[in-house]
Point group: C2
Chain length 323, copies 2
């Protein structure tokens, strides 16, 4: 009881301060705050009951960086190297042979098909518990090739503040990503404050088995669900069963999630993070092979969705930049 | 702020009273309370942090009745009758023809295959929003053939108290049922206090489409997932990503969920509802075609799981029995 009161007092103190200190005082920040105040003001025509305050966030390029390639691809490559002694055939089989030679460009030349093949070879064949440990061990030390920072430090400070601000206002925050659901779950609670049951992602099938008298879930080399593009509203309905009130993305892969969110009744909020800061982060949009934002940018303009201009709107990008 | 304080005071008053008034003071009730107190006492070796307090409940036969047949089957039959004018061929096609003649026994003679065929014919072909409205309209008036009560009154009062008791102690309560996920979501929040994002069930596939400029999710006549037996731990991992601390079921279809729960580290709680009360409810177990409890009963005894003897342990079964 006492600790709840303390929490309430702390919460009210936090609300009095600027909830989004890493956002510059631009129209973007104001649009976020205006939306949150509208939907949380009782008696307002835009009021949304707490149970319906669902906010969905893409991960790659929206909550953490995705250049020079999706971070999960680094995991895949490292796993191929680690598993290579058990797979002597990989030396002569693409795309594995290129990975083992360190030629990542050739490894990825096969496009989505090659990536899925490598994902299967590295994400299946373990139990769910074993896989969780493999990811946890890897992410604890995996560093970004350009910044040298831990990958878990490559998260956008303004977006962490936004997640916390929404939660302080009664929102349930979900991640809805093309990335692997079990990959993200390992670090999302600690890094983003999003618990495993609020992570939606791509997945492979699992099978329940009793092994040596102990039940396990075995990860199978068979696709279950691709949580990208038109898959995102499907994943949202499957896991949440309620249409988001707010959705946040950065690429054409998020467009259908934003369309689905915007089409709900009443006030909705759709936001695109536009990567415009080549100095502090990266600048890319319509022509990028990773995180392409083309149709989405047009639709955001046509529909009046909020677009973050990273260079203009974010006072800092990463926490490690300092104050 | 003020309303939160009032809520806190109400909550503490409620905790002081008996949280399970519809349970007789038997060893079963004591086992539940002992478990909850152990895992919520800070400093106890059995303490479970709030984020990990996941409790999963089967629905049919565990939270509401399932005799003389699964309530969703009544929905299927009523939908077949409602859709019959658009399907003249059903008059001569089994199992539809038997349903239209009112011969439900023959309709179900085809077993699971016939049931899935009828489920597809009645659950697909609409958008998710249309389907939600169809179920909502139906469940608002659907009554039980024996008691004449609304189906939503056929819920077990002791289990409603148990759900609330667990939530008051920081548990997140989930439903994990072989029933249709979108069928249950329509009433589970109001009836059980379980929001749509905490419902796990069987499902058909959906497809995202833009229709007349408006995005919709179309329900397809294609199985997506059967959330029963060995599917239950798979569904739990997919949706929750965390092993339950407590699991509640009533049939062999729940056995794998209980096994998966019991095999976690630390204190876990597994409970079977045993239907032993032919007078107030129904009495069935090893030989029943619906909700068979055979292997599960043996395993519960062997492992020391808690078994509710409905006749002995429940002071009342349904709220409509009165005090």
């Amino acid at each position: 009881m006492r600790s709840l009161l303390v929490l309430l007092l702390l919460a009210s103190a936090a609300l009095a301060a600027d909830p989004l200190p890493s956002w510059n005082d631009t129209a973007t920040k104001q649009a976020i705050i205006t939306f949150v105040e509208k939907v949380t003001t009782e008696g307002s025509p835009d009021f949304v009951p707490p149970a319906e305050r669902i906010a969905t966030f893409d991960n790659d390029g929206t909550l953490w960086a995705e250049q020079p390639m999706y971070f999960q691809a680094f995991f895949i490559f490292d796993r191929i190297k680690a598993l290579a002694p058990k797979h002597p055939e990989w030396k002569d089989t693409e795309p594995f042979a290129s990975v083992l030679k360190g030629d990542l460009k050739s490894a990825l030349a096969g496009g989505e098909h090659a990536l899925i093949e490598m994902a299967m070879a590295t994400h299946a064949g373990t139990t769910t518990e074993e896989f969780e440990k493999i990811v946890a061990d890897w992410i604890a030390t995996a560093r970004h090739p350009k910044t040298g920072r831990l990958l878990t430090e490559m998260v956008y400070q303004p977006m962490l503040e936004l997640l916390a601000y929404l939660r302080a206002n009664g929102f349930k925050t979900f991640i809805v990503s093309g990335g692997g659901i079990e990959f993200m779950r390992v670090f999302a609670e600690e890094v983003y404050g999003v618990p495993p049951e609020q992570i939606i992602g791509s997945s492979i099938k699992t099978r329940f088995e009793i092994r040596d008298g102990r039940p396990v879930l075995v990860r199978l080399p068979e696709l279950n669900f691709i949580d990208d593009k038109a898959g995102k509203p499907v994943g949202i309905q499957m896991h949440i069963g309620r249409r988001p009130v707010a959705a946040f993305g950065n690429s054409d892969g998020d467009l259908q999630m934003l369309q689905w969110t915007a089409a709900g009744k009443g006030t909705r909020f759709c936001l695109y993070v536009h990567h415009t800061d080549a100095e502090r982060e990266w600048a890319y949009d319509r022509e990028s092979s990773i995180g392409r934002l083309d149709k989405g940018l047009d639709e955001a303009k046509a529909r009046g969705w909020t677009v973050v201009d990273m260079k203009r709107d974010w006072r800092r990008v990463f926490a490690f930049e300092g104050q």
